[in-house]
Every structure is written in C-alpha cells, then in structure tokens.
C-alpha cells in the first residue's frame, strides 16, 4: 500500500510544485537491515535536482538510515546490509565497480552534531579539496576555502582567524564550518542530518537562509524534527514511519492536504 501511495504522489506533481528540472536521486525497493533488524522497508522515492527535500518522521523511523544510504555511509557499519537500488543521475551507487570515495565526494554530508576537525578553520575547509586535488596551487586552495566560507555565510565572522582552531567556534559557527567543508569539494548532493538540532534560533535561521541560497546549485536533502523548518525550507517532504516511507509530495500539499491518515496525525502532533 505504501508503494502505491508513493507512486501516486510521484506521478501527480501538483500545480504548486517547485520547478524541479529533473530527478537527481532515485531509490527503488530499498531495504536496510542492521543485523536482524529491518530498519528500512522497501523505500522507493525520487529526489528532484536543485531543490530541498525534507525527511520527517518520528524518532527511530529510519530517516538517518536512508540518508546514510545515499552516500553509502552505512558501509562503515559492519552489521548493516542494504538491498534494492539507489541511483544518482541514473548511475547505480551500489555498483561494485563504483568507487565509494568518489561517491562521497559527490554526495557531501553535514552531521547532526557539528564535527569540525580539531585543526584550524582553514585546514578544515581545505582538507577535502586537498585530498581530491581540486586546487592546483596554494592560491587556488585559498580561493576555494574563502569562497566556501563565503557561501556558508561564515567568512565575515572568521576571516581574521582562519588559523584558529575550528573547535573554538560556537556551535552554530561550527555547523556552518561543516557546511563550508562539505561544499568545498563542490558536491552535487548535500545530505544534512538534523543540522540545526544543536543550534539556537538565530543560528538556525542563518543555516536555513544558507540552504535556501545553496539550493540554486545543489540538491539538498535534510532530515529534521521541526515541522516548521521542513515547511519553511523544503520544496518536497517525505514522511517516514516505522521504516516505511508513508508519503512523499510537495511540502505545501503534505502540510495542508496529506493523503495518509498517519501523515495527518503526525503533522498535527497526535503522535511522535
């Protein structure tokens, strides 16, 4: 029954739909097991390019699990097993021939807890470009670092102390540093797992503003527990429950006119 809902939602783009120029990420019949535990059940979804897609759902429903499938971060968990198919630009990312390191360069990730390297701000941002050989010279590298910090909206605050430790920044600044670090390797997709959960409203607003700007060039997927945030920033929303993808559709439609009773119950706060 889930499948039909999903297909239905996908096949009938509403009039208010964001101008999705194409599909960036496609998942088909995706299942994830942690050992015996079936954490993600038969998820199929299309994620449009250059827009923001929000994953919502109660705790433990599998949002992070699915997000981590998209850059194969689940590979690092020994007990984790993924079946089904996930494609980016039509390319199967679980193809054994595919280099997972390159995939992760194409699909950046920002974690729930800010996790800057305990190095200088500059080194934090420069690390990705350096290992991928993006910048040929020192000046190129400087340029990448500055423009990434600029795009992440952090440059103004840190331009005088690029050599200070990244861990010395405030929580919100650290999270934007992590975003700058992620975009420094110019990924196509940016995955954000509850990026604002540790931030105050002002820092949250900055990050949201930033996402809004970034969506012009990047495909962004964000996991959030804040319905308001999902409503504010995303064009599309997917609702997960107990490992199932219950409903996916235009954000406005999900929040005003959900097709599923469970979605309705969740967004009105009746459970979760």
């Amino acid at each position: 029954m889930d499948m039909s809902t999903v297909e239905h939602a996908m096949l009938t783009p509403s009039a208010t739909s964001a101008p999705a120029s194409g599909t960036k990420v496609t998942a088909r019949a995706c299942n994830v097991y942690y050992g015996e535990k079936h954490a993600l059940k038969d998820v199929s979804v299309d994620i449009p390019e250059r827009s923001i897609t929000a994953f919502i759902g109660p705790s433990g429903c599998g949002k992070s699990t699915f997000l981590r499938c998209i850059n194969r971060m689940n590979d690092t968990i020994a007990s984790c097993r993924v079946t089904g198919k996930i494609e980016i630009d039509g390319q199967d990312i679980y193809d054994p021939a595919l280099d997972v390191v390159q995939l992760r360069a194409r699909v950046g990730m920002v974690f729930q807890k800010p996790n800057p390297f305990p190095k200088s701000i500059y080194e934090n941002v420069a690390y990705g470009p350096r290992i991928h050989g993006i910048a040929k010279s020192k000046s190129d590298l400087d340029e990448v670092v500055i423009s990434s910090l600029e795009k992440a909206g952090l440059l103004k605050e840190v331009k005088d102390r690029l050599n200070d430790s990244g861990t010395g920044l405030s929580g919100g600044q650290q999270q934007r540093l992590c975003i700058a670090r992620a975009i420094a390797v110019s990924p196509e997709v940016i995955l954000m797992d509850e990026p604002c959960s540790a931030l105050d409203p002002i820092a949250t607003a900055k990050v949201e503003e930033l996402m809004d700007e970034l969506k012009a060039n990047y495909t962004i997927i964000i996991v959030t527990h804040s319905m308001q945030q999902a409503a504010r920033v995303s064009q599309r929303t997917a609702f997960f429950h107990l490992g199932n993808l219950v409903e996916v559709g235009d954000t406005r439609q999900i929040f005003t006119n959900p097709k599923e009773q469970r979605t309705q119950d969740y967004i009105t706060g009746r459970f979760g």
Binding site: N71, V101, R104, A105, G108, V110, F111, F117, I131, A182
Partner: protein
C-alpha cells in the same frame, strides 16, 4: 494530553518519598557514616603508601647521594723525568706506559715523612686508588713540558679512604695527659711512661670487658654442663679459661694487652702518634704510627691520650691508615669534589673507579633498539586491529593473545630470547641488539594495547567527517584518527619504555649480566644495562659498592621519573576536548 482535571482528588500514592521518619534519619546517618568510613580508608591507604615511599626514597638517597662525591689528595708531585720518560723522547706512548707508582709513593712520603717500616709504607700507598695516576698521566700526555716540574694534582683515594672521609671510619676523641710523659724512642716499638696514672681508666675498661667475657663463657659452660655429661672435657677447658680471665681482672694493677676487638688507645706526643699494644695505669708499650719529632719528655697538657672508638676489627681502615688519613686531613690535602667519574667510566673492580657510563650507554642502545622496533610495529598493529581488521574469530584470538602476552612474566621472554635469538639465529651474547629485541617482545603488547585504547578514544564523528568529504578509510585514519591518538600512543610508549628501562630478569637470561669494563660503542658489543649493573654491584662485598648501588638506583629512578614526567606532560599538553 494536558486535559487532566485538576479538581479530581489525587489518590494517596502507594510509594512515597520518606524524608522525616526515624528510619529515614537512621538511613541518612548510616550513609554519612559509610562515606566518612570510606574517606578514612582512602586516606589511610594513601598515608601508608606515602610513608613506604618516603622511607624508600630516604634510604636510597641517604645511601646513594654520598657516592656522587669523591675525595682526592691534592699533593705536590715532583714529576721526575727519569721515571716518567726515561728515554727522554717525550712521546705519548712512552708517557702513557710509564710506571707512575714511584711518583705517587714519593709524593706521599713527602707529605708524611719518616715512615720506615715496610708495612706502614705499604699502608700509606694503599690510601691511594690504583687509578690515582690517571689524572696525572692525562696531564702529562697533553702537556709533556710538565715533565721535570713539580705539579699539584688531585690523586684519587682508594674506596676505603674515601669512605673514611665520608664518615664510615671511627669516632675519635682525646684528652690531655695529666702527667709528664716520657717516650723511649722516636720510631718502632717504644714505651711511653707517665708520671701520673693517665691510663687507669683505659685499664679499668679492659678489665671490665674481661669480666663480661668471663661471665659469658661461664654461663655457656653451665648450659653445656646441664645438657649432658658427654662434653665434660670442653666444659673443663672453659672453666679453666674463666679462672684465667678472673685472675686477670681481679688484679687491677696488672698490665693488659690490647687487641683489635677493643677501641684503640693511642698517644699523640711530640708531633707523633703511638698505638698502645699493652698498657698499665701509668704507661703503654706500643708501635709508632707517625714518627715522633723527638724522644724528649712531654710536659702535662702537651700530649694527648687518643681513642679510636670503633674497634679496628669492625672497620675497613687500620689504625695506621686512620693515622695517615687524619694527618693528611690536618695538612689540608684532602679535596672533596663531585664524582664525575661515576658518569664517565665503565664498570671496574675498584669501587672508586667504577662508573655507570657503560651501563647507561648499554641501556640507551638497548632501549633504542626496543623503541625502533616497538613503536612502528606496535602502532601499525594497533591501527590495523582497531581500524581495518575484519571483526571475526581470528581477530578475537589475536586480541586475546595480545592481552595475554602483556601478562607473561618477563623471564619467559628472556628464555625465548635465549632460545631464538642466541641459539637459533646465533646473535652475539650480551649485546644491546638482543636485549633490545627481547625487551621489544616485552613492551610490544603494552604499546599495542595503549595505542588501541588511544585510537578508540578518538570520537567516531571525526572519522565520519573525513569520510563525509570523500576521504578514503585509510586517509581518514592516517590524516585524522592517528594524529589525534598520537599523544595517547606516545604516553603508552613512554610508560612501556620506562617498564623496559627497569627490566632485569630477561636480560640476565641473554647474558647481559657479565662484568664489562668497556663502554659499548655498537649494538653488537657486549654490554650491560643500568638495572643489571645495580644487580651486579649489590652483590659485591665492598661497602663502597653498596653506596654505588644506591647511587645507580638514584640515577635509574631519576630517568624513570623523567620519562613518566614526559608522559604526563605530553598528556596534559595534547589533551583534547571534543
């Protein structure tokens, strides 16, 4: 969810927090008591530990610190050219090979003139170490123009003389003579008679001692007699001895002989010193230790009765030597200086010449081998096990066995080293190379365990962050996880090395326990290490070596403290909060 009506009477809850009843108060009191008790145990344990430590440190320092100082004689040595360089070519080889003993003897004889007896002059030269000419020889080799001149050089004292000046000799007291004393000669065996009963007190002491000896013998005889009749003959001879002694102590006027078991009695008169061998109340018969300037009679108050309170048999220096050493001290010839030699020479049979340079170098070479092997192997093994190894039965077995290895007694590693490195591979015995290999086996598990703990302590979010920007697993580990774990790894390594530094048993097994004089210069030279040197010295009978043992322990402990201090410093400096 929030529509619980407030006006519904709340039922009395079944379980309530009780803070006021007697039972509750009793509970609180017993909790406080338990906490006080626990605190007291802790403080008691700490106090006991601190006490033991303080006693240990005090004892080691008290014994060891004097060994860092040494005494020499600053004498004018006439460097006779015909002795040092009979060929007159002034070449280094000849100067080095010359016999310096006559020079030393001449210098001593000049300092204490008039010694005639062979035994006395032998004892005079025995005051100096066999290494005494070393300094002079070095000076002459460096500057042959000194030959023929008289130069002031410090001549190293022998260990016994050195210990004497450090206070391990005898108490000396004296009192002025009351009567007029008349010596019968200037040298050799003489008598000194006094006009008053100057030696009555000494004589009485001797008689008292005879009495106590007699009492002891008679008590023993009684015991043997009671135990059975079969030793009647022995009892009879003991009784006879008692009678003989009684005869002596009951006649207070009789002269008595002095032996080496009683405090020595001497007479300082006319600038010389006579040691009493037999005395009665008004005179002594004795040997001249330091020749008298004249045999004239000495007025009351100008001569002295001297006591060396420690009996001669209970000390390492004879009365003759004490006399020499005191005379030299009065002459201001004794020079106390820091014992650099202790740090610059290898082992020796002569305590005053023995140093820890050989052992220190051996330790350094051995630990270098250990470190060079352990650090890379240990860290790489830890990184592989912690970050890359598949988690399966085999890695579990490896892990368990590494932990087991850390607990294997070190002597077992010594035996292993003996069997494998010496007998199978045929590496040289007693070599730092083999010592280092054996200690590496010993320290490796410690380092692996410490390194794994340090790697584990790096939060996984750092690795995820690196993976998230497209670093490979290996890049993430080597660029981020390993550097962050490095302080912890270094701390573990230093503590492991400190452990190796103090290790003795396995090195005994591979023969690093030999007496080695030369300072090792290569990894395959025969060598010993500091703890083994301590073990070797502690076994030697000379009291000076006991002191050296303690001094070497002080050095070893200093290194251990230094290494542990470095570990703490590293930990503090690089401690990170995430």
């Amino acid at each position: 969810m929030t529509d619980i009506s407030m006006d519904i009477a709340r039922p009395e809850p079944k379980f309530r927090l009780d803070l006021t009843s007697d039972a509750a108060r009793a509970r609180i009191r017993s909790r406080y008591r338990a906490e006080t008790r626990f605190k007291a145990y802790g403080i008691a344990a700490l106090t006991v530990t601190a006490l033991f430590l303080a006693v240990l440190m005090f004892d080691i320092l008290r014994n060891g610190l004097p060994a860092f100082w040494q005494h020499s004689l600053l004498l004018d040595v006439p460097v006779a050219a015909d002795i040092v360089d009979p060929a007159g070519k002034r070449e280094a080889g000849a100067i080095k090979g010359a016999d310096y003993f006559p020079l030393m003897r001449n210098a001593l004889n000049a300092a204490i003139p008039g010694i005639e007896s062979r035994s006395a002059s032998k004892q005079l030269t025995r005051v100096l170490s066999v290494g005494a000419p070393d300094r002079l020889r070095d000076m002459l080799v460096a500057d042959p123009s000194l030959i023929g001149k008289t130069i002031k050089v410090p001549l190293l004292l022998s260990d016994d003389a050195d210990l004497y000046y450090k206070g391990a000799g005898t108490g000396i007291d004296d009192r002025a003579g009351r009567g007029t004393a008349t010596p019968s000669g200037r040298t050799g065996e003489i008598t000194v008679l006094t006009s008053s009963n100057d030696f009555a007190e000494e004589l009485q002491n001797i008689k008292l001692r005879l009495k106590s000896v007699a009492d002891t013998i008679s008590r023993d005889a009684g015991r043997i007699e009671r135990s059975g009749p079969d030793q009647a003959q022995r009892v009879a001879s003991m009784r006879a001895e008692v009678a003989n002694l009684a005869n002596r102590y009951q006649q207070p006027g009789n002269a008595e002989a002095l032996d080496s078991k009683v405090p020595s009695v001497l007479v300082a008169i006319n600038g010389g010193l006579v040691k009493a061998t037999r005395l009665d109340a008004s005179g002594i018969t004795g040997d001249v230790l330091l020749p008298l300037k004249s045999a004239e009679e000495a007025k009351p108050g100008t001569w002295k009765v001297v006591h060396y309170s420690t009996p001669e048999s209970d000390r390492k220096v004879t009365d003759q030597e004490v006399a020499f050493l005191e005379r030299l001290r009065e002459a201001g010839a004794v020079d106390r200086h820091f014992n650099w030699r202790f740090f610059t020479t290898g082992d020796s049979r002569e305590p005053e010449l023995a140093g820890i340079r050989g052992a220190l170098t051996g330790t350094a070479l051995t630990l270098l081998v250990t470190l060079l092997l352990c650090l890379p192997i240990g860290v790489m093994a830890a990184v592989y096990l912690e970050e890359f190894a598949p988690k399966n039965r085999w890695t579990d077995v490896v892990e368990v066995n590494i932990n087991n290895l850390a607990a294997v007694p070190s002597i077992v590693f010594g035996l292993l080293g003996l069997a494998v490195f010496l007998n199978f591979f045929g590496l040289p015995r007693s070599a730092p190379l083999v010592g280092g290999l054996v200690l590496a086996l010993l320290v490796l598990p410690t380092i692996i365990i410490a390194a794994r703990a340090a790697l584990k302590a790096v939060p996984p979010s750092i690795k995820e962050a690196a993976l998230g920007v497209g670093a490979s697993h290996q890049q993430a580990v080597f660029h981020h996880v390993l550097p962050l774990a490095m302080p912890g790894i270094m701390t573990g390594t230093i503590i492991g090395m400190a452990h190796a530094l103090g290790e003795t048993a396995p090195l005994l097994m591979i023969g690093m326990v030999a007496f080695i004089v030369d300072v090792p210069t290569a990894f395959t030279d025969a060598a010993t290490v500091l703890p083994v040197q301590i073990y070797l010295w502690s076994d030697l009978p000379e009291p000076a070596f006991q002191s050296k043992t303690a001094a070497a322990i002080v050095v070893l402990l200093a290194f251990l403290f230094l290494m542990n201090g470095a570990a703490i410093w590293l930990r503090k400096k690089f401690e990170r909060r995430w």
